[in-house]
Symmetry: C2
């Protein structure tokens, strides 16, 4: 197909497609003349993943290039691919928890002891410097600084529900075999469902509050 058709099929404007070609995010098409090239289905799938990583996941062009390179190197290994697309950091978050991430040669930082205890309790096998560990630690610290008596054990029932949520998430990916398509779906479902999951909790709180205290 021509670049105009590629744009229509992927929902990415032609100028943006050309930008991705120049930046090496998208491999070149097969030249059919000095100014035109032919693109295939692989380009459509790759473009949709690029769009998911940049527009939805919030990655920079450079970070997206790194993820795509790693994805193509591990295309046969679903766990690696999922880890690569879900573990990549959005551009704006880079500095936020940088200390914990850069701690590779210092061993685990003292601040993540709570998160480590929770992970051990759940039997979860995750990378030592997962950004989400820092979020758990920071939340507990914030609650404590506001005078709320709350420790990691209070999170265990929430973690058990998160485990069931993650099982749902991965079940929804299991029927896709193409690694690029699976990576795209993982990004979309993980990132885009986040506000909806929080909204469902609020709605459920209102319903449960009405059930307990309503008349």
């Amino acid at each position: 197909m021509r670049i105009s058709e590629l744009s229509r099929r992927s929902g990415v404007p032609v100028t943006t497609v050309k930008h991705y070609l120049r930046e090496g995010l998208l491999p070149p098409g097969r030249p059919t003349s000095a100014t035109q090239a032919e693109y295939g289905e692989a380009h459509v799938r790759r473009l949709r993943l690029i769009r998911a990583l940049i527009a939805v996941r919030g990655l920079s062009v450079g970070a997206t290039r790194d993820v795509l390179k790693a994805v193509s190197e591990h295309a046969g290994d679903a766990h690696q691919v999922l880890g690569l697309v879900l573990g990549a950091r959005p551009a704006g978050e880079a500095g936020k928890s940088g200390a914990a991430e850069k701690g590779g040669d210092r061993g685990p930082s003292a601040g993540t002891a709570d998160a480590d205890a929770l992970l051990a309790e759940m039997g979860w096998d995750v990378s030592e410097h997962a950004p989400a560990k820092t979020v758990v630690t920071e939340t507990l610290e914030t609650l404590r600084s506001l005078g709320v008596d709350y420790d990691w054990r209070s999170l265990v029932p929430y973690a058990a529900l998160a485990e069931r949520t993650a099982t749902l998430d991965l079940d929804q990916l299991a029927d896709t075999c193409d690694p690029l398509e699976q990576a795209e779906r993982a990004v979309l479902l993980t990132v885009l469902l986040e506000p909806a999951l929080l909204a469902l909790r609020r709605l459920a709180q209102e319903a449960e509050s009405a059930r307990r205290y309503g008349d």
Copy 2:
């Protein structure tokens, strides 16, 4: 206690306490001289709730005053108080889903049909214009616009898990009898736990992916 002690106990700077007094968020203390007043435990609790609504929930001073007024009018009605503090809109979100909120005289908007179907399926009794309904609708629309085949029925198992999460949330409030304290705890636990719950989902995804696809 003096205003300095009130500041220390609540963690709110003296200048901010004075600002809240001027704005009528905090009732005046009992005057002990022309320039000094005596404050009590009720002031400490009230200040902690104000801080939770403004600094954590992101409400404006005006919206906080409205919530506090409504809370004191319904102090004996836990469901009303929870609805008031959890349903109040942060300052930055006011315009975002305004159309759905202002639709009181137009009946439910067409766009919330998905959310209504989900609520009916779950048997959840929530207010017609709950902002969280709009979030659910928008998420489904975004997924569809990106070519992901996803409808409200796919959210039912997530809603079932949200229901169990909300039960945990309300259990954690149940041992508090003072309505101001309960309102404060509701805001802190609802808002501050949000990033941690999303982080737990990411960690659980990584663990579940390792279990399924790891070696």
